[in-house]
């Protein structure tokens, strides 16, 4: 064992670990850009992940199909074949209906906000080590996606682009504590800051903090983005209030929010690549980034 410490492989191990530490520091210094290694390998892994996401979606729908057929088979064995056909048609119909509803929601959003520019994207990978639902989409800077762009589904806000690579990007969701969103109650106009929490994230919920003691927020209220900070456009639906509780560390209240979008299960998302007031300059800095605006 003592010889192991003198072995060539041990010296290589130390060198590799030191290089990795250097790389970690380099990666941490990048704000919103994908590091070079991830960017290069994403050219190989993104197409493979796209394919596997497609296959896993197919397997899921086959499972649904079989469940339906089993139920119907028990009810009427003589009409099994016919029922199979009809069930398959029904699955297609439901899929089309859901897609139609999704697109209708986006269309409505687009009609209400004509200045929005959308980039449709598919979730190709989810981080098994992250409890906040971080995922990777198949669109990057080559498709017009940029750092801090909001990510939504037809139902509501999902998160923002936390790392933009050439052909893929990482999305940090609203369940993460790294997210701070100015949000208001649509009914009462009470404002707060929306962010994540470890325990709440496990249940797929998040919290609206810094609510005043005398606020009128109530369960069932809809929470939307306030538009402050210029990272998220105004009036994007975030979710619904389920509970109001008192903060243990100060006198403010916080509300538990059930996101309107299916954060941990969504497959198709839309990136808002442009909207009025996006990235406006606040106090000489690019809003939300702490960086100086690029020279004109």
């Amino acid at each position: 064992m003592r010889n192991l410490l003198k072995a060539k492989s041990f010296k290589i191990l130390i060198a590799v670990v030191l290089i990795l530490f250097g790389f970690m520091m380099y990666s941490a210094s990048l704000s919103g850009e994908q590091n070079i290694l991830t960017a290069i390998t994403s050219f190989i892994t993104t197409p493979v992940q796209k394919l596997s996401a497609l296959i896993s979606g197919g397997i899921g729908s086959i499972g649904d199909d079989l469940t339906d057929v089993e139920t119907i088979k028990a009810e009427n064995e003589l009409l099994l074949t016919k029922v199979r056909e009809l069930t398959a048609q029904l699955v297609d119909y439901e899929e089309l209906k859901q897609e139609n509803e999704r697109l209708r929601g986006i269309l409505q959003l687009k009609q209400e906000n004509a200045e929005f520019e959308f980039v449709p994207a598919t979730v190709i990978s989810r981080d098994a080590t992250d409890q906040y639902g971080t995922f990777i989409i198949d669109k990057g800077t080559a498709h017009g996606v940029a750092y801090l762009d909001p990510v939504i589904t037809a139902d509501g806000l999902v998160g923002y682009i936390s790392e933009a690579g050439p052909i893929s990007s990482k999305v940090t969701t609203i369940l993460s504590p790294a997210t701070d969103i100015g949000a208001i109650d649509r009914r009462t106009l009470d404002g707060g800051v929306l962010g994540g929490d470890l325990a709440l994230a496990k249940n797929g919920t998040c919290k609206l903090s810094y609510l005043a003691r005398d606020c009128e927020v109530a369960a069932g209220d809809i929470i939307v983005t306030s538009g402050l900070g210029c990272i998220y456009p105004k009036n994007l639906v975030i979710g619904e209030v389920t509970e109001i509780l008192a903060e243990s560390q100060d006198i403010s209240l916080y509300a538990i929010i059930q996101p309107a979008a299916d954060i941990t299960g969504c497959i198709d998302v839309f990136v808002i690549s442009s909207f009025n007031g996006q990235g406006a300059v606040v106090n000489g800095e690019l809003a939300g980034t702490g960086e100086q605006p690029p020279a004109q």
């Binding site: 041990f10 990795l20 790389f23 990666s27 390998t41 994403s42 896993s56 989810r126 080590t129 993460s176």
Partner: protein, 171 residues
């Protein structure tokens, strides 16, 4: 087939295995969640490979698996690279110098590696940042994740044993 061709084939098979496991681990909705967590298959399979290789070779496959995990990870790039490089090196060295190469050892080493990975995440991403729910991570997330991942240890162990036996000096 000479020994070099067999070795080369074996390493290609390991690399493909890691790539496949990465896809299975990261593909949305493929593996069901258990108590809200998903298994860390790359840790399990990388440790499976290290059980049948020298520490020098195990280290490189640990590095590869770790960097693959980092690609999809929300944490700083290189974090899992460091964890898995060290884990695989230590695992292989322990099997070479101290421990028997059997399923029990695979359970001890892989669970140790999962524990190291979980504790490192807890320390660097929750405790150091003063997260008031950091203890919650230990029992509600890390523990179920280790249990769920451990289910796959026999699969990884026997699969890699078959691969290593089949493609090593059987001429």
């Amino acid at each position: 087939m000479n020994i070099f061709t067999r070795k080369r084939l074996k390493y290609i098979a390991y690399a493909l295995e890691i790539l496949l496991v990465y896809i299975i681990q990261c593909t949305p909705n493929l593996l069901p969640a258990f108590l809200g967590v998903r298994p860390l298959l790359l840790v399990v399979f990388a440790m499976g490979i290290s059980m049948f290789e020298s520490e020098g070779i195990a280290m490189w496959f640990g590095l590869f698996a770790g960097l693959m995990m980092d690609m999809a990870s929300a944490h700083v790039f290189g974090f899992f690279g460091v964890i898995l490089t060290i884990s695989c090196y230590a695992g292989a060295a322990l099997v070479v110098f101290l421990m028997r190469n059997n399923l029990l050892t695979a359970f001890i080493l892989t669970t140790g590696s999962l524990l190291l990975s979980g504790l490192a995440q807890w320390f660097f991403f929750y405790l150091l940042w003063g997260d008031p729910k950091s203890w919650y991570y230990l029992y509600a997330i890390m523990l179920p994740q280790i249990v769920y991942s451990a289910i796959f240890i026999p699969v990884a162990f026997y699969f890699n044993r078959a691969l290593a036996t089949h493609l090593t000096d059987s001429d």
